[in-house]
């Protein structure tokens, strides 16, 4: 490894884990998390997702809009190479298990392998850095993605989730499907794909994360052979959609009929108060996670009373999501009468606002969040994907010190969030109910 190479080591004695960050001369950040595992898991990711479809290149006068679903389309198309081969086949030849995914704010290309790591890593970098799009290959991909869109359209949980996003957001592109629609993907051309690729797949917007049986030296040596030696950075400004988004929910109820046996519901509370500093965002994330655990967990008063009176089915989920562009708290489940469940949840929250939260519940919530966080470090897949989320949603700097952030949350922090987040005007409910 080049002695002059900029590197930084992050460590946690509590977790017994460490990783190294290196920056390649082309601008791509490389993260190596050595782990005593049989397999090695690698992600080559872009800080580019479905919501990044209004942007302005440095020097351009105006923002441009591209069709919904283009980030996901790129994810599919990059696997096709100029010589007609498919990278999936090459990974299979090396015995690696490859895949990819697109989320609201990131795209990941990944593989796991137990042998021939060097060949697979080289392939991963090569296919992501060598785009090849033609009109005919785009047409054939439209067929596959149309079926993917239909598959998600038929999925009631997915529809209910998007119903909640549509209910919360007025204009933010998070409300639109990551895959786009059959109409928007039909507008995609090779030129559009190349223009988005050039901006969002420039090396400074990419990161390589490797976790498993390897070393920073080995990863750097392989990456250096496959990454461009230098890359001119093109400045891009993304539209700040959160800034334009009203605090209030777009609509309070979305109600759809589908092929389900019992109504499904998603309740969402939009949060537009997003801290600029990544540390403050993580602090809010930690405090909200503890608060959700205090209010909605299976050991809590609310869940047990809803279940024992038969208002909900046993499966009930909840959580808080925050990035630099959107944040919301959500609950999801199945209920005979979702409106009654909503009323009870709101009444419970209001009661907690007036009577106060319990300090015992606070300690319990913190303990649960800490234990769950520690358990994630058993899997190289979880480590790599969580590190990628920290990189895109906040900062890698706090990945191993997140336990300190959790420990540092005070009871008053969650009390304040209870008052700030759960307001009726921020709330929406999405329901998918049976057709008959």
């Amino acid at each position: 490894m080049n002695d002059k190479l900029c590197s930084r080591i992050f460590e946690s004695s509590f977790l017994g884990e460490s990783f190294t960050k290196l920056t390649h001369p082309c601008g791509c950040d490389i993260y190596v998390f050595p782990k005593n595992t049989s397999s090695t898991y690698a992600i080559f990711g872009s800080r580019y997702g479905s919501i990044h479809n209004v942007f302005k290149k440095d020097g351009d006068a105006d923002f441009v809009s591209v069709p919904d679903g283009i980030a996901h389309f790129l994810e599919h198309k990059l696997f096709t190479n100029e010589d007609g081969s498919d990278s999936f086949e090459r990974f299979s030849e090396y015995g690696a298990d490859a895949n990819a995914y697109t989320s609201f704010n990131k795209t990941a290309y990944l593989f796991s392998c137990t042998d021939r790591f060097s060949s697979s890593l080289g392939e991963l970098i090569d296919f992501v850095t060598h785009p090849y799009f033609t009109k005919s290959s785009i047409e054939s991909e439209i067929g596959i993605i149309s079926e993917e869109i239909k598959m998600y359209d038929d999925n009631p949980q997915d529809r209910c989730f998007y119903g909640m996003l549509e209910g919360m957001y007025h204009d933010h592109s998070i409300k639109r499907n990551i895959c786009g629609s059959e109409k928007t993907i039909s507008q995609i051309t090779p030129e559009l794909l190349y223009s988005c690729y050039d901006l969002f797949y420039q090396p400074s917007n990419l990161c390589l994360i490797v976790c498993g049986n390897t070393s920073p030296e080995e990863v750097y040596r392989i990456a250096d052979k496959h990454l461009p030696s230098f890359s001119e950075k093109i400045g891009v400004t993304l539209a700040n959609e959160n800034k334009k988004e009203p605090k209030e929910a777009n609509k309070q109820i979305t109600d759809v009929k589908m092929q389900v046996s019992k109504p499904l519901f998603n309740i969402g509370f939009k949060d537009t108060d997003i801290p600029c500093s990544s540390y403050e965002r993580l602090k809010k994330d930690a405090a909200m996670s503890i608060l959700c655990e205090m209010l909605f967990s299976t050991s809590g008063e609310l869940y047990n009373s809803l279940l024992s009176e038969g208002s909900i089915s046993p499966a009930f989920s909840y959580g808080y999501s925050i990035t630099d562009s959107f944040a919301y708290c959500s609950m999801a489940g199945e209920a005979g009468d979702p409106y009654t469940v909503l009323e009870k949840i709101e009444a419970y929250i209001e009661e907690k606002k007036s009577s106060g939260l319990s300090e015992n519940d606070f300690s319990r919530g913190k303990r649960v969040m800490l234990a769950d966080f520690i358990k994630n470090f058993d899997s190289s897949e979880n480590i790599a994907n969580n590190l990628f989320s920290f990189i895109c949603d906040s900062s890698e700097e706090y990945f191993l010190s997140f336990t300190d952030i959790l420990n540092g949350i005070e009871f008053q922090d969650v009390e304040k969030l209870l008052a700030d987040i759960f307001k009726k005007e921020y709330r929406t409910i999405s329901i998918v109910r049976p057709i008959a």
Binding site: S38, S39, D86, F88, E89, F91, S92, E93, Y94, G95, A96, D97, A98, S112, T114, D115, S140, E141, G143, I144, S146, E147, M151, D153, D154, Q157, K251, Q252, I253, T254, D255, V256, K257, M258, Q259, V260, S261, K262, L264, T298, S299, E301, Y303, N304, L307, S308, G310, S313, P314, E334, R364, R367, V368, L370, A371, I374, K375, F377, D378, I435
Partner: protein, 436 residues
């Protein structure tokens, strides 16, 4: 990693792997009984009822609170079917004691809780409270009915069920539903009494050695007398029946096609390693014939894959497509299998399939649940095969071995969910309730 099997006490056997590789470990307790529709129905209800309170932890909230105190440990009670055997398992995931900041012995706490749920569930005069039985029966019915929420899984399960049309003991969903509806506390409590006297198989992966684990098991489990050691009903691949084709219409936009084939081989019968490799080559990986041809080349489906059940010896294809492409997709799936029958398998294809499986088996050691899943099924049916031995057997298989098995394989069932929504139709949206 070495798997050690020891007798803990009368009819309690422990299989354990001592490793400090993970931050969390698993321990599971399994009880056995022959399966049929009645026992499957009772097992499903019982797995919910046993979570609803014990002598010491009076309700579900108290059980869950105790789990939170034990650093977010989880105990999953499940009733599953393995061939003609019913397994009631109490599976726990728990953090290693080194992360216990207050000196709590997490494993000891989890064992105490499992023994409470297993031996001292909430009962009155040896009967489970009728309201709890009724409510849990309702949850089981809801869960069965909600199979239609996921048409892909529904098509797959219906295909598997049709393939069992000549097995009088097979718990079809219809039959299970009928029994669940009519189950009372007397029948359920009697089933519990029979089940609880079964021999127990314990599986542990974690930082302690087998003697330490056995000592703790004795503390909580040895006082209860056990019946005879359960003799598993060994699997025997299903006998061929007449070809069966069925179709069901549903208001969804995408058609779902499931196709079931009988290979005639399975664990304890014939060379099931050839079945594993045949399936891998046919449709289990991105280098498979189904993925490369049906999805990539012809763009007919987003998903088109196959799975091999080593107990029944059946391969089931699962795919989703526009209904107008149903015929062409079905023909193409059959054509790909015909190719294998004719021995049209390239060296590249067979090498990729073997390497993919090698990757899967080597990765098993990175996840405690994968280790358990590999060993427990084989061990239950009397096989001591290790992942290395399995890989070694697969590596010696030739193209002829695969073609031979494919020639013996019979297409048994084709089941199709016909989506009735056209391209212009969508799910019915209720009027927005902007003002509640």
């Amino acid at each position: 990693m070495n798997l050690v099997r020891t007798k803990v006490c009368d009819n309690i056997y422990l299989s354990s792997i001592k490793t400090d590789k993970f931050k969390s470990g698993i321990i599971s307790f399994s009880l056995f009984h022959p399966t049929n529709a009645e026992n499957s129905a009772y097992g499903a209800i019982l797995s919910g009822v046993l979570r609803r309170g014990t002598k010491k932890y009076s309700d579900m909230a108290k059980i869950n609170l105790r789990l939170d105190e034990l650093y977010a440990s989880s105990v999953d009670i499940r009733s599953t079917r393995l061939g003609k055997n019913l397994i009631l398992s109490f599976g726990a995931e728990l953090l290693d004691n080194r992360f216990s900041t207050d000196g709590t012995d997490i494993l000891d706490g989890v064992l105490e809780l499992i023994s409470e749920m297993m031996f001292y569930p909430k009962r009155q005069d040896s009967l489970f409270p009728e309201p709890i039985v009724r409510q849990e029966a309702g949850f089981v019915l809801d869960s069965i009915k909600s199979e239609i929420n996921n048409t892909r899984a529904y098509a797959y399960n219906r295909c598997v069920e049709i393939m069992k049309r000549n097995d009088a003991d097979f718990p079809t969903l219809k039959r299970v539903c009928e029994i669940v509806q009519n189950t009372d506390t007397h029948a359920l409590s009697a089933f519990y009494d029979r089940m609880i006297s079964s021999s127990i198989e314990v599986f542990y992966i974690g930082a302690l050695d087998e003697a330490e684990v056995a000592k703790r098991i004795i503390k909580y489990f040895s006082a209860h007398s056990r019946g005879l050691v359960y003799s598993p009903i060994l699997p025997c691949p299903d006998a061929p029946c007449d070809f069966h084709k069925a179709e069901e219409a549903m208001p969804v936009s995408q058609g779902k096609l499931a196709m079931g084939m009988r290979t005639g081989c399975g664990i304890n019968h014939g060379d099931y390693h050839a079945g594993i490799l045949l399936n891998e080559l046919f449709g289990a990986s991105p280098a498979s014939k189904l993925f490369l041809n049906v999805r990539e080349k012809l763009s007919l489906c987003y998903h088109c894959s196959s799975a091999f059940d080593m107990v029944s010896g059946n391969i089931t294809v699962s795919s989703g497509m526009d209904i107008k492409n149903r015929q062409v997709a079905e023909e193409e799936i059959i054509r790909q299998f015909e190719d294998i029958r004719k021995g049209n398998i390239t060296d590249k294809e067979i090498r990729a399939a073997k390497r993919s499986l090698e990757n899967v088996y080597k990765q098993i050691y990175d996840n405690p649940f994968d280790i358990q899943s590999f060993y427990s099924t084989r061990q239950f049916f009397g096989s001591s095969e290790t992942p290395e031995e399995c890989m070694s057997k697969i590596s010696t298989l030739t193209t002829d071995d695969i073609a031979d098995l494919a020639q013996k394989t019979v297409l048994d069932t084709v089941f199709f969910v016909k989506g009735t929504l056209t391209d212009n139709e969508t799910y019915e949206e209720e009027e927005d309730h902007e003002n509640e």
